[in-house]
Structures are given as structure tokens and as C-alpha cells.
Symmetry: D2
Subunit: 286 residues, 4 copies
């Protein structure tokens, strides 16, 4: 038996970049949080502290800023591909680069004035190896709520089941979604807008018998509307709204007054996929 | 010399309430975080544990939910006044009640479907005593940015000053504002919308020589546009955007590529007030 | 009626400083988060953007780092006094300086190795004017729990009261305390240790009929043990532990199984003071 | 081409449990945050909303509380195994259960008095299938710092490299570690203590030429000291401490005054494993 080094990677996480592009008086803003992770032949630094194959994480940070100047920042997927390819192509000991980007939206208030949008965050996770590239887009923090058309009944019961059945409950969730693209070249912004619309439309229009059913409807809608997406993975917390018992005060509560609970919460996770797509080249969700 | 009890209060903090109002198929949502604090003759419980004058904080929570049913939830200021008056009027040992509310906005997606808005949070802090009422409205987390028309120069220098003067910098802040109303009866929602518009307009249109100047312009705009406001207090973090030095890579950086800093940050705090208004009945900002 | 500038101040918040002091092989660590706020004659920058009286907040940051080198960092109160006095003494337009420090503790593991302690954070808030100085020490995040000797009964009831009386409950809180010193010169570290011990001892040994009673016992213990303290203010959340109803599973629950609740929580705030101390020169708690 | 359901699971996350065990006057406290996720034959609820195979997440919460009473709470690994086995054994449609537990430590202050320790959190992730069980223990938030014996030089340089070489820097990290056990029956508490000691000892005693070298030394120490561990995965942020340039103030800075940076940070991730252990039955780190 021997003790050996297993899977490993290293990089610079959370480099905060704001890129202003000027077209006369009119400015455009890109506001990103960029994380880079590299893997490859890194045994020496682990075993002996020989750093001859180690590109400093400080250099990765510099590269993010320099590339923002040299190449501009387009869609986050595109900027991530550019960075990831650079590291793999210019450093032979690096076999794979993963670049993750959080992108924050700003609403325009004037030619050079902006208000940050807090609705949700767009994400991109790009993996580039010497042979392949994989692009995963995502979003986090999109909070949706239906106050009608949600039921939950007919479920399994055991000794520890006390939940009453219901034909009318609040259904609320904070959508955490990631979707893998078939290709590494598409109209990223148009694709993103289409996915958000599909997710929202399916949430709103599905008469829900379970959050699982809503999840599957959301994933199906995305794959139906957006042919460029191979598969989508959704993690939907069931943000419980508990009906308050007002009977001690001789008041009825006909689904009007709710406690918005923090913890615990249900957590429904599922993948919806096309059955004929090539497999992912690496794990693409945490 | 004796050891004595000084100022004190107690209450229930962060009661999370969602109130659905139904008008046929069309639902309306109020989503609040309500905190109640009461003060008055509370010496006995501190000194001997005699709780005969202590209304349980659990009762305050129940009252929030029951009132949401009995009276509905209108503007947060109105609901806070209703609650605060109730505690002072029905419990003689209570001399003052303070009700704070955070109100979360939802955008309508359908008759009973909603998306939570994350831009900023509206707040209300109401204080009611046996004689008076004071209403303070506020907002938190409104992030604004100008990428032009901001300068900073001509400042004082001492031995520890290294900051270069600039005639072109990014000005960004997360507005934290509170404003005291002259009266306890107004059109709260209309007033709120007017203040947010005034704050935003002044931020966008002020050519800024210092964040203090912008702060004062924002406060003045609010008091000019909204006669129902007595005074406004603004706490504006200066969210620094540092120009990246790209010269080692033989690249220019003409105000294009910035590091968005986390800490430290400037913090500019100031009050703008009418000179003829009655004083506040109690401290109204933390 | 005119619109005028009211109270205002400005500064640099959250300058993160780590100071290593070397005594041969043995190192000592100071790990601080320093916030500076200055007030005085600052009208011009607000009204016209004339910054001639404005010392940049960047200079405040530089001063923190330079002073750490020139003077070392002793107790946080001492370092805060040094900084605050510097700003008031060297800049005539500054009438008052407030320096707040969070101090993070590290446990020694070796001559130059340390583990960060996460129990609680020590704070200092120092205000210096041209005439006076005021020192407030504090702590945040000290979480204490008694699983016996806590009761709550005999309280007031109204229409909305449903809480059952109890003679045995869990009492848990996260102590947030601030205490004002009589003088601006004492053995700060010894005083701090004494206060933490007094707070803890009183929490542990008080048979509690209400959290207010425990609060008052904690404050009294501090003033009894520590003659250098003028007054203490405690904000104690009542971190509710709800007994789980296990009767549907035909199980008893004799105060064994609890839900640790997040929100809402009780919040008990109170000041314990000597009756013969000079008043504070400024508000000293937020 | 068809759209199909892929991998999925569901459960109740973050059930907060406090369990008091009484031995006369002396109480013992278990303070846990329990998350359950089940997978198996769950197609029907996704496709049609047929919930006949869906055990409600509310039942999982009830089971956590009822089991705490019926079986007590021992080590978190043991409680997680008990819960996971229950779900797989009693519900035939469930093929795998994953139970994750965060465990919070309390220091004893008296027979029934405690202070919460904030140093770090112990975690357990247990996966049980119909054939196998896998136990992963972990910790999060253990912050360690060496102010000597850390160097970084001899690294690769490219066009974007500006980092100076150093033979003396601060090395600080917040250890996030997870380790897989060879067996599902061991002395969990003793094993945990041994791992924490091994990690800390290796961090303190390694003269570090790179954080990768320190990581590997920490993992090797754990596997050397603890024969019950199959492999360990470490994610070590490099919490940068930047030397302040005091030369504008004509002050030297011989590694005495540092900025503690927030973002960006290095992130070094690696696995150290025995070369003869059976593979994991499922992904065991996020």
C-alpha cells in the first residue's frame, strides 16, 4: 500500500472585473466574477515543492484583466472560452482549464448611468481540454411564486407521516439551473434569454401536482424551445409557506396568511436531457 | 453609588409574513419581515423576574398574523402604525412601540404568479408613543453607478496622502436611505415611488466633485420634490473601482478595466433637512 | 423654509490589517478590521464639491497601516485612541473622530503558527473630540445556552396570547454587549477578560424567570466586578428552541428533542448603569 | 430524439435539531443540521404528478426528530447511517439515501450550561444503497496561519506574470476537508479528533514551498496516522496577505504590516489517497 496524490487542480477564484466600453458618450458595462482552475501535470509541486510547472494564480488574475483590455468582454461564455483556451494552449503541462463566471446585470439609466439588477445572477462554467470544450450556462436566485394551481396529495405515508393533503398551496422556489450546450459556438445572449423565458413560462403555466412535476415541465420547455441545449439540471428548493392557524383568535384563514419559512426546506433536484446527446466531458454541476 | 436599570425594550424580531389577497382569479402579494419592540414600565421583570407586565413576544408574532387577516396589509407604514398603536393603546404599561418592516417586492407574471425583485428593499420604521407617532420610510441595497461625470481633486493632503487626483473615475454606491415624514398620514406608496425617483435622478444628473456633493444633491432633490418629507439621511458607501495597471503587459488602460473592490470602502453619511421642521421624537436611524 | 445640511460624517470603513510582531522566533499576531469616521466643518464639499477640507478616505487607510508600523498595535482600544487623536489633532476642521475596531483572536499553535478562534469578536468604539475621549468596548457572537434553570410564566395575556407557561425551557442567546469605560486609560486586555468572565458567570448561575432577568444579572455582575466600567448595554436575542410534538408517533418528549428556530426570535435589549456616572459624549451604540 | 428525465433526487434540507440528554443534573447537547436526499423510482411524479411513490419531505423531517428521541444521537456519522438505512430499508422504491449532517460543538461551562464553539464545523455525508454504505466525514472553516516557514519561488512565468518571488510570506487558509472511511463502523469521535490533529500538525510543521506541498503533507499525515481513512480531499483557499508598501511614508516594512485580502484568493484542491482502496460508490464531494 502506498499513499499517492489523486485528482487535483488549482487556480485563482473570484477575480472581480468591471469592464467599461465606450461608444462616444454611451458606455456599456460588464461586471464579472471570474474563477480559474487548472489541472495537469502538477505532481512535483505537491511532492517536493518544485514549482517549475506552476503558473502563479496571480498570473491568472493578471490574465483576466489583460484579456478584458485586449479582447473585450462579450458574453460570459465567450470570455470564459477565450481564457480557458489560452491556458491550455500556452502551457503544455496544463491538460484542462475550467473557467467559471458570475455575471451581474445592470439596467441602463442614461448614457453612462446604471442600476444593478438583483433579480438573479447569470453563470457560465467552461471546461477546455486539449481535445474538447464544454460550455454550461446557468442562473441562480430567480425566485418564483404561484399562489394558485398547486396541489400535493396522493403521496406515500408511513409511521412518521403527518402532512395533510392539499389541493391549494403556495408554490415558491429559488431557481438554480445549469444547462449544457451542444456546441461551443452559439448566440450566447439570445440563448440565455430564451432559457430564462422558457423556465419562467413553464413555472407559471404548469398546474402543479408536485414540485417534481413543475421541475420536469421547466426542463422540457427549455429543451423544446432551445435546440442548442443538450441537457438541463435544476435544483429547486421548496420554499415552504405555512398556513397560520388563526382559530385561537376565532379567525378563518382561507389561504390568506402564511409564514414564510427559512429552514428546513424541500430540495428537488433533477436533470432533463435529450436521449441522443454525447456525454459530458466532465462533471458539470457541483 | 448604585447600579440601576437604564433604557430597555423588548420584542419579537423578524416575523416573516406573506399575505395573499384574492380578487377573483387575481391575487395580490404582501411579503414582509416585521419586528416589534416595546418599552415602558418593565423594571419588575428585570429585577425580580415578575412577568406580570410582560406581554410575551410570542403574542406579538400572533398579533402580526391575526392583524394581517383582520385588517389586511396595505402600505408597510400603515400596517406598522396599526400594530404599534394597538400595543400602546391596549397595554397601559407600554409607553412606546416601535415597529420595523422590511417589504419585499414581487413583479407580476400572471394573475397568481410572481417573480421576486431583488433590486432593493423598502423599509418602514414607525414609533408610536402615548402622545405621538413618527414614520420613517427607507430603502436599502439600491446600487447605482456612473461611469462618467465623477471627479475627485483639490483635497487636503498630509504625510500619509498618496491618492492621485482624478477628473474621471467610476462613482458607485449602494444607497441606504431613510426619510422622516412630517405626518402620519399620506399616500405612502406614491410618496415612496417619488423618493426613489428623486434619489435616482439626482445621482444620474449630478456632475460629481465628491460623493458628499452627490449625497447632498440626492437629499435636496427628495425634499424639493416631496413636500411630505421632513428630512432624509443617506449612508453611501463609496464602492471603489480601482484602475488596473496594465503597463507591465504594454497595454494602456484608459478607464476601461477596473477591479471592483470589496473592502475597505469609503462611507459617506449625511442628513439633509428642512430648517423649520419639528424635531424627531426618537432616534430614527441606527 | 430652507433645505440645509444636517449631521454628517465620512470615513474609510473596514480596513483589514494584520500586524506581525517578532520576538526572535516567536511571533505575535494582531488581526483587525478598522473603520474611521470623521466629522467637523465639511459643508463646502457637500454644497459645492470644494474638497479643500476633505482628507481623503484613502489617507485614513494609509494612516492605519503606517501607524501599525510606527506605533505597533496594542489593545484595540489603545490603537483606536491613537488613530482618533491623530485625526483631531492634526486637522483643525475635524471636530470629532470615531474609530471602530473589530479584533479577531488567534490561538497559538507554535512560535509562528496560529488557529483563528471563532467563538466571538471583540470590538472597540472610540470617539475623540477636541475636548474629550470616550471608549466603548464590546463583543459580538458569544453564544450561550442553559438547558435547565430557565422558566417563563406569570406573563400578561391578551386576546392574541397562546403561549403556554413553562417552568423548564432552553435559554439560549448570542450575546451582543457594549460597555462604556469611565476613563480612557486602563488595562484594556485585563478589563476585557474580566467582563467576558462576568457575563458568562452571570448567565450560567442565574436561575432565570425571564431573559430580562438574566440580562440584568449579567449587567450587574459586570459593574460589580469591574469598577472601571460606567455602563453596559446588552442586546440578547432569545434563540428559541421549540419542543417537538412527538405524540403523533406515540413518543414522549420530556424536554429532549427541540427545533432550533431561525426566525422570528425574541430580542431583549437593556442598559445597566451606575447612577452617578457622567453622561456619554455621544451615542455609543447603534 | 426524445426528452427524458435524467438523474434526480429529492429530500428535506437543513432540519435543525437540538437533542438534550440528561444524566441526572448533567446534560449533554447534540446540535445538528440534517439534510436528507432520496433517489430511486421517481419517474411518475415528474411526468404525471402521480405521488404514490413520494414519501413527503415533511415525513423526513419528522423522522429526524422521532429518531433523535427513539435512538438518541451519537456521532453524526452514526445518526446519518441510521437515518439513511431506514429510508432505503422501509421504502422499496428508494434505491439510495444520502444524509448530510453539520454538527456544531458546544464547550461545557457547567452541568447544563454551554458555550458554542465557532472554530469550525464537523460534517458527515453518508450514502446508503441497497447494497452498500459509504461514510465521508469532514470539517469546514478551520482557519490556520503560519507567519514563517513559507516560501514561493521558482514558478513558471509568462507574459502576464508580475509576481515577485519570495522566501518569506504569510501562509493562511481556511481548511475545507472531507475524508472517506474504509468501513461503516469505527470510533467516529476518536477518528475525527485524530484527523483534526493530523491536519493541524502537518500544517504547522511543514516548511512550505507551495500551498500544494502543504496540502499534500496534510493529506499524507492523515492517512499515515489514521488507518481507517481511505482517502482525503482538501480544498484550501490561499488567503492572501499582501505586504503594505510603506515607502511613501519613509517606513520600512520587514514583513510586519499586511493587508488581509478578501477577493480574489487562490484555491488549491487535491486528493490524497491510498492506492489500494476500493472506489467510492458515489461522488462524495461537491
Amino acid at each position: 500500500m502506498a499513499i499517492v496524490l489523486g485528482e487535483n487542480r488549482y487556480g485563482k477564484a473570484e477575480t472581480r472585473l468591471v469592464r467599461v466600453t465606450r461608444d462616444g458618450e454611451t458606455h456599456t458595462l460588464a461586471d464579472l466574477n471570474v474563477s480559474v482552475a487548472l489541472s495537469g501535470d502538477l505532481v512535483a509541486t505537491h511532492l517536493t515543492g518544485d514549482n517549475s510547472g506552476v503558473l502563479p494564480t496571480d498570473t491568472m488574475k493578471n490574465t483576466v484583466y489583460a484579456f478584458a483590455k485586449e479582447h473585450g468582454v462579450g458574453a460570459p461564455e465567450q470570455f470564459a472560452l477565450l481564457l480557458a483556451r489560452h491556458f491550455v494552449e500556452t502551457h503544455t503541462q496544463i491538460r484542462a482549464a475550467r473557467v467559471g463566471i458570475e455575471s451581474f446585470s445592470w439596467e441602463r439609466l442614461g448614457p453612462h448611468s446604471f442600476r444593478r439588477q438583483g433579480d438573479h445572477t447569470r453563470t457560465a462554467e467552461v471546461t477546455v481540454t486539449v481535445e474538447q470544450a464544454q460550455v454550461v450556462t446557468g442562473l441562480a436566485g430567480l425566485v418564483l411564486l404561484n399562489s394558485a394551481n398547486s396541489e400535493f396529495h396522493g403521496f406515500q405515508r408511513d409511521r412518521y407521516t403527518t402532512l395533510p393533503e392539499t389541493t391549494d398551496r403556495i408554490l415558491a422556489t429559488a431557481v438554480d439551473a445549469r444547462w449544457r450546450h451542444l456546441d461551443d459556438d452559439t448566440d450566447w445572449d439570445k440563448s440565455y434569454t430564451g432559457v430564462v423565458e422558457a423556465l419562467t413560462k413553464a413555472f407559471v403555466t404548469t398546474h402543479s401536482l408536485s414540485l417534481q412535476q413543475t421541475l420536469y415541465a421547466m426542463g422540457t420547455q427549455v429543451l423544446t424551445d432551445q435546440p442548442e441545449i443538450a441537457e438541463i439540471r435544476l435544483a429547486l428548493p421548496n420554499k415552504h409557506h405555512y398556513l397560520v392557524d388563526l382559530s385561537p383568535f376565532e379567525l378563518a384563514n382561507d389561504n390568506e396568511v402564511f409564514i414564510a419559512g427559512d429552514r428546513p426546506y424541500g430540495l428537488i433536484e433533477g436533470t432533463v436531457t435529450r436521449d441522443d446527446v454525447p456525454p459530458a466531458i466532465t462533471e458539470w454541476y457541483p
